[in-house]
Symmetry: C4
Subunit: 274 residues, 4 copies
């Protein structure tokens, strides 16, 4: 149960980071699969991510139905999460957001979104664009039922990110830390590519071997990855909620006040060097 | 009378949101029609929207004359509001602003501003550009009398937004919540289109059927729409002023301190699910 | 003497506004001519504008020499101010800054900087570009002596703004309020033009008659102009320093806390309506 | 020893400035060579620069090995620093960062990054682009060993900055103050060039003679250079740590509260005028 509590904490942290880093605003959401029951996932009730606390997390089955008697209003688009968790057993966390700087790449095929910077490698070499109109015709563009969620998941396939035309993106990863990181760097990669396009000349995308090399070396608890998670959480005001599975004790409250004092007792950096 | 007080509160909230979301700065304003007298509307005295409180709201007739003996200095361009309220009986709220990112679309016909993202759908499929010089020749570009306000309203026609060449935009909607939302997402839609243009290739605009579908489903008090209003108000520092017509009591003061504690008592999300 | 104290206060306010609005950073400065002695002007000692208070203001003669025995380090480029005050007797205030978004227009003649938005009208229809290399060859680009200041002033001529190639701009106006306003809207006008350029099609610049009409109507103490000065000062943290020459008393301290309470006693808006 | 303490303080300040000015985020680092032992350098342990305090600084030999028994996790890419310090005896400080706005110039040869604005002059007339794949094939793009660090240093040659394709940049200078300044203005120069490119026409780069003139006049303790260091440090919340080698006493704590009171005792500006 303690693990579950930490996971819910991490989900709250993920919400706050995505809000503070401008990936979500009043809209957009992040979910995590139940570690003990792959047919269920956690997602907040309908609330702006910046305001979410542990009490706002709901539990859903893969068809988007709330578990038990929870009557609170859920996010309309919870079917995005259910659809992807159903289709991809190895995926443990999903983000859906409208991050502004990725939108242009869903509006035109003129320049496909592909990784150009090392921090963007985790989006993978292929980022498909899902157009809800292809199968469902004229809609309000929202993923509002199981069938639409499944169709989006089908378009996503084995990739990490799918753009949604005129709407946003869906991202899937093996952990909350990874899906948050991917979602933060996805817009940055988009901006770098968009600007490079304006400078003229041929663009050097990441090589497939580079994408693969980075993917192989990834671990959510490496010193390097953890550093960003801790940094983003602290900036978002929830540094005090950060815990590490392999740490004896939770990280101290130092995050609450940014960098005022030396963090003498922090054990964070003593993990395995890489 | 209680309803009127809530409406004035909402008008203050609208001012603060538009300022916090960078739609207005020292200039720009938002009005709401009097619910009981369609020949009158409310608009603040001449003051930067960020500073406006309930005591700053004035009442005007459609010709821009202050009601009663109110001697405070009004906004020069109140004729924009009067002109649109006169021409469009169903319109209940109007925004005029200089939001920077929409300006380029009023300066050239090279790329018409049209909806490309779902949150931009409410601007409607046609966004006319009003050029004050067409009828009035060399002016200071400000809408400074009834005739100019009426001419702008004529150009707006049955649309939701008109760009004003070299100046800004005017937006009209059925409620304050809707006109604020439209004004916040208008610049975002403009940026997405402007950037897509730079990526090359054909741009996929929203389909007419999609615009219609979104318009049909809109309600200012749906869970989804309310979530953004509450979020923006809280970020702008007036979360404590938010009220819901169908709620028994006003929302608690939780907004004053951003997301520090779980909002255990919030009833906001218990409305009708959609 | 009381007037002089108010003018020094206004100069401090101008410094803070320009810093808060990102026109200056550690570099850039604003000056005002001595109201009783046209051969002298006030300018801060060498300090970032954000930190400047009344005690930091120095007095200079038009050749850039400090008046009296003041030994504090002055800005290196005070010759910009002296040169313009010498050449333009009607100019009462000067800004020099490196505002990032105007720099591109000094680097290429591909798109001349001209007014396209109404708030940019005060820069005037012609914005010459001064290249220090034309007369002085290889320098460090700084205006470091009287001769260079005079040459810049010559290029400025009767215009309001001159761009300085690879460096920034110099702006001149009839009052501090006007030169600050011009300096804040200059980058905004530049961005609108730059983005319009990317949208394709012919750009509609402000018409000469429009520029003239706006210029005729300008007054630093009009309700409209004052509203922005008061707004910017308050946002920059010096709302409490704002005074109005035609007001009986100084504006209250309400600015110190942004928009927390209704400003019941504010007399600001009771001036002449226009 | 007192000098060493000041140097470590300056290194902390450098970290905070680079973070506050958006040059680094969770990633990126700055080092300084040991003043008494050119075979050693100081660099923080693996921690986001915003959080670094004096206790986080580690000492390394040029091969990237921690000195003594320090077991804390170091930055993976410390080999960038070692490689450059080894190859360039006159270099005293190094920055590596991923500043977003320089990335496009490493992705395409369409528009080489060169100085166009005076504050960008210190990057030098030639900014080579290092592609790790040229020698090392498919990697995770990180500079993870001595050989890679040496190869990057070789590409840098006698220049001040090298771009790293798909990754970021490395900058080298004669002092911490200089390398920080260069790193802050590098992205600004990149943006000015990128935007000028969009305006059309031929771009006027800084002339070689101008770059040389600026370089000759540079001193980390000139009034002008110091002004920016003091400004950036204060904005980053470490104004109280600022010291000047030629000052009798440390700068007072005024920086802790931004510009609230006149800095009556500040001796900063009394240095040599230039």
């Amino acid at each position: 149960m303690s693990n579950l509590r930490n996971l819910i904490n991490d989900l709250v942290i993920a919400n706050r980071i995505l809000s503070h880093e401008d990936v979500v605003d009043a809209y957009g959401h992040v979910s995590v699969r139940h570690p003990d029951d792959p047919t269920r996932f956690f997602l907040a009730r309908s609330l702006a991510p910046e305001f979410i606390t542990t009490g706002d997390i709901m539990e859903f089955s893969l068809d988007g139905a709330p578990v038990g008697t929870d009557k609170r209003a859920p996010y309309l688009e919870r079917f995005i999460h259910g659809g992807i968790f159903e289709a991809r057993p190895e995926v443990m966390a999903v983000v859906h957001a409208h991050a502004e700087d990725i939108l242009p790449f869903g509006l035109t095929g003129g320049t496909p979104l592909r990784p150009v910077i090392h921090s963007g490698s985790f989006i993978g070499s292929d980022v498909p664009v899902w157009d809800i109109a292809d199968k469902f015709g004229d809609t309000n563009l929202l993923v509002a039922n199981v069938e639409q969620g499944q169709d989006l998941a089908k378009c996503l396939g084995q990739n990490s990110v799918a753009l949604m035309r005129g709407h946003g993106f869906a991202a899937a990863a093996r952990s909350l830390i990874e899906v948050v990181r991917m979602s933060v760097y996805l817009p940055r990669n988009a901006r770098a590519l968009w600007r490079a396009k304006q400078l003229g000349g041929d663009i050097k995308y990441l090589r497939q071997g580079e994408i693969d090399a980075r993917n192989r070396g990834y671990s959510p608890y490496s010193v390097e990855t953890w550093r960003a998670w801790h940094y983003w959480a602290t900036k978002a005001g929830v540094g005090n909620m950060v815990t590490r599975p392999d740490a004896k004790v939770a990280v101290s409250r130092k995050g609450a006040k940014l960098a005022k004092k030396p963090a003498k007792k922090a054990k964070l950096a003593k993990g395995k060097r890489k």
